[in-house]
Symmetry: C2
Subunit: 189 residues, 2 copies
DNA sequence: TAAGACTAGTCACTTTCATGACTATCATGG
DNA sequence: CCATGATAGTCATGAAAGTGACTAGTCTTA
């Protein structure tokens, strides 16, 4: 029951089609969850059956018809219940960390390539988050916006995403530097 | 195929029993993955069947007998192959972020309680990581250790875990402060 | 003007993860 | 001397997440 609530939270923004949701959850734009189209469509079906969301069909001319979903009262209640329930601690769970854990025993070259790829990915997301934050707060300062803005949830999660990716970038760069220096030292012997 | 490689990477440390592994992966001590005992035992069984690890029984007097596992050559090869393969990007996936995303619509009191619980948890882990790092590097400085230490993988992943938890702590505290100030402002109207 | 990307979604299937309940024995504290 | 808690695991089952393959029309651009 996890993606479930992420979808409900996303629908707080207003009406969204399944396809729009996939855009948000897909390429990592959603900074608080991630899921693939198939999972989202399946979840939407389940949620609609449970009457936590309701959809209405929109007939379109130039492109396929779509269904726009919105939260029902029951859906909002469910989300509130979920928020009140105790959260389990979260952990990093990342292939790349497993690989670095094994760094002393495996091919360093391949590992460094992956670390720099990840660093590049992180930089791209940092960029994206910066733009999203700016667009959410408009011409107000961050402090101003957080004090008086009317919808700060997405802004706050975006801030976490930003910090997380900055952490990724810094760690990847640092790790690369360490591995490179050891490589150099090793060659000299 | 993810826990699988995390277990292999953990066994690089040397021989470990299933029970010792659970201690490492359990309460979040392992900074690069997390799993419950049942999953680990199941994974160990699978890995042994696939001959990626091998176990030997140790008969004990005062406590139950145990099986110590170690990597086989095939296991090391598998780990190397895994490390060379492209890593998929990782995402934060956290209940708490979903809840904050909904912050504008749900009970703030309960949410703040969870945020401060999480902050406390993060502080505890920061402490733990600090101790682990110190014990790994001994009396050397970090730079010294990273240049010349003979096993730096766990140290590097530990650094990522530390930074992650510092990020959690800071974000939780900041978010609490923001929510509290809004609450205050709201009451005054 | 054909290839490729975008909108909009579905079906079937597998792999992973998580949970609860259970069995033993021994050591320690109150 | 009895209740915890640590050591060392096992079994069964359910929930969640991930993957591949597909349909079908439209818009863009090289």
């Amino acid at each position: 029951m996890a993606l479930r609530h992420a979808v409900l939270a996303a629908l707080l923004e207003g009406e969204l089609s399944g396809y729009q949701l996939t855009k948000a959850f897909d390429l990592g734009v959603a900074n608080f969850w991630y899921a693939q189209p198939q999972q989202l469509y399946a979840e939407l079906t389940r949620l609609e059956k449970g009457r936590l969301i309701a959809g209405r069909e929109v007939i379109q001319e130039a492109r396929p018809n779509k269904r726009l979903f919105h939260l029902t009262d029951a859906g909002l209640a469910e989300l509130e219940e979920f928020t009140a329930a105790a959260a389990k601690p979260s952990f990093i769970r990342d292939d790349l960390l497993v690989k670095v854990q094994a760094a002393d025993y495996v091919d360093t070259e391949a590992l460094m390539a992956q670390l720099s790829e990840r660093a590049a990915f992180a930089r791209a997301k940092i960029d994206l988050f910066g733009k999203m934050l700016r667009s959410m707060r408009g011409d107000r300062t961050e402090g101003e916006f957080l004090r008086h803005g009317h919808r700060i949830g997405p802004y706050l999660t975006c801030l976490r995403g930003l910090a997380f990716e900055e952490g990724n970038r810094d760690w990847c760069e640092h790790t690369i530097a360490v591995l490179r220096e050891r490589q150099k030292a090793h060659v000299q012997h």
